[in-house]
């Protein structure tokens, strides 16, 4: 009888330790989720003032010979450049086909629009100001075989919480270019670490691409974000392929010295 009680007590102790560990992990996740929740806007910390300028200072990817051989010039299929000549300040010109309604792998990397992060128990939803969303599974599921991941999408993402950071692992992205001279195939792993600074108002996302066939070492870079104010809200990104102005851009006016 005494042996049974001792055995049961030991089992209880082990369960208690397990429970403590689980509860601590849940608390960790809850704390991380609480600070990460909400809207974030990417910062141009280098003061580049242009889309390409921000990433121009990132360390270039160290590629394997096989990886370097894969690199091909990339162009947004929606881009058009009918006359390929410089345009005067303020002169409108056509830059895209004005195609609305498409979604693609470009969505894993933030642009200048706000992104919104909604952590829940099973899933972290990451949205922007238009259609489409990233569904990040935090329920412990594994990635499916690559053959089951649609090639035109945002890949398949799972995540876990590490010391309050959200760490996302993605595979299944379509083949194409990666910021700062990188390349990806469906087999390439993208790890994103979402870390909210101690001030609670700034966040850093570190992207790390790993693929022994492509990279001689993991290819990393970070984006900085500022929290959307408490009274802020999501805009709505409007797109109308039937509007001729949708295709047009305007060269910015000359800046004062």
């Amino acid at each position: 009888m005494q042996v049974k009680v001792v055995a049961a007590a030991l089992a209880a102790l082990m369960l208690m330790l397990g429970a403590h560990s689980t509860l601590r992990a849940q608390g960790n996740a809850a704390d991380g989720a609480r600070v990460l929740e909400g809207g974030w806007v990417r910062l141009d910390t280098s003061g580049s003032g242009s889309f390409g300028g921000l990433t121009a200072n990132f360390a270039r990817a160290a590629l394997t010979p096989e990886g370097a051989a894969k690199i091909k010039p990339q162009r947004d299929p929606d881009d058009v450049d009918p006359d390929n000549r410089p345009h005067k300040a303020g002169e409108p010109y056509i830059v895209t086909q004005g195609r609305c309604g498409g979604f693609g792998p470009g969505g894993v990397e933030p642009n200048s629009a706000a992104l919104f992060i909604i952590p829940t128990r099973d899933e972290v939803l990451i949205t922007r100001e238009g259609p489409g969303a990233r569904h990040i599974f935090t329920d412990g599921r594994e990635h499916p075989p690559l053959s089951r991941i649609p090639s035109a999408g945002l890949g398949h993402s799972t995540a876990k919480w590490e010391n309050g950071d959200l760490v996302i692992d993605t595979v299944g992205l379509s083949e194409g270019g990666v910021t700062a001279g990188g390349w990806r195939t469906p087999e390439t792993h993208l790890t994103e670490r979402y870390h909210v600074e101690d001030d609670g108002t700034h966040m850093r996302i570190t992207f790390t691409w790993t693929d022994p066939k492509i990279y001689a070492k993991p290819h990393s870079y970070s984006f900085q974000f500022e929290r959307v104010p408490a009274d802020g809200y999501a805009f709505e990104n409007w797109c109308d392929s039937g509007d001729p102005l949708q295709r047009q851009s305007v060269v910015p006016p000359e800046q004062l010295p």
Partner: protein, 230 residues
């Protein structure tokens, strides 16, 4: 014996802590699919006299243009999506992401008033705020753009800049169904509030969202299909 019983009770209590995932009537997070047949029971609204056949036809033409050119659809089309909705609720907001060409809906739990009309640019989804009344989530929306997206409201009528929508979300059938009761008011469109209920079935937890249905405005075959007379 008594000690053994206490230990077993202790273990059971701990197990309860670890696996405590009881359904929460105030959490509507999950994947939800419109119960299409059950949600067809939409009454015809009573329209004001100024909403003539010609007005309805003109509005239908605008809606057709939005579909033709793959504009984002907006409310209320997003809530009638033929694909599941991913609804996620956090402390400050509820987000509804669709697998169709509709902008994500943001419903704010941390605001009790709408964004000032002086600031808010009308959108296809409008400005939504919400609060819990018991186990019912009451969502209040204004700020619709009358010229963008698909404006048609189930049963009849359409949204305008003056439209006011109240939605009441409630989990039923032990959380397996989500009931949403829509009430539209607009003195320029409806003589009386127009109310109907949609029901959504909860999908299994292992459901994975698919890519949104693609819409190609330059697909000539599609355009021919849309513009052909049956």
């Amino acid at each position: 014996m008594k000690a053994g019983f206490l230990v077993v009770t202790f273990i059971a209590a701990l197990s309860g802590i670890v696996s405590a995932q009881a359904p929460n009537a105030r959490d509507i997070s999950g994947y939800w699919e419109l119960t299409y047949m059950d949600s067809q029971h939409v009454p015809r609204p009573q329209l004001v006299p100024r909403v003539t056949r010609a007005v309805l036809d003109a509005q239908a033409q605008k809606d057709f243009k939005a579909v033709r050119w793959c504009n984002i659809l907006g409310m209320p089309a997003i809530m009638a999506s033929p694909r599941p909705l991913d609804i996620r609720q956090s402390e400050k907001m509820i987000v509804i992401a669709a697998e169709i060409n509709a902008a994500t809906r943001y419903i704010y739990l941390n605001r009790t008033t709408h964004i000032s009309k002086d600031i808010f640019d009308p959108t296809t989804n409008g400005d939504s705020i919400a609060k819990w009344e018991g186990d019912t989530l009451v969502v209040d929306t204004i700020g619709f753009d009358p010229n963008k997206g698909v404006t048609a409201i189930p049963g009849g009528g359409f949204r305008t800049a003056n439209t006011h929508l109240v939605e009441r979300y409630r989990l039923v059938n032990n959380g397996s169904l989500l009931s949403v009761r829509f009430t539209w008011t607009d003195p320029g469109v409806f003589r009386t509030p127009h109310t109907y209920e949609f029901r959504y079935a909860r999908l299994p937890r292992d459901y994975e969202a698919r890519l949104p249905l693609n819409c190609d405005p330059f697909d000539e075959t599609r355009t021919a299909f849309l513009t052909a007379r049956p």
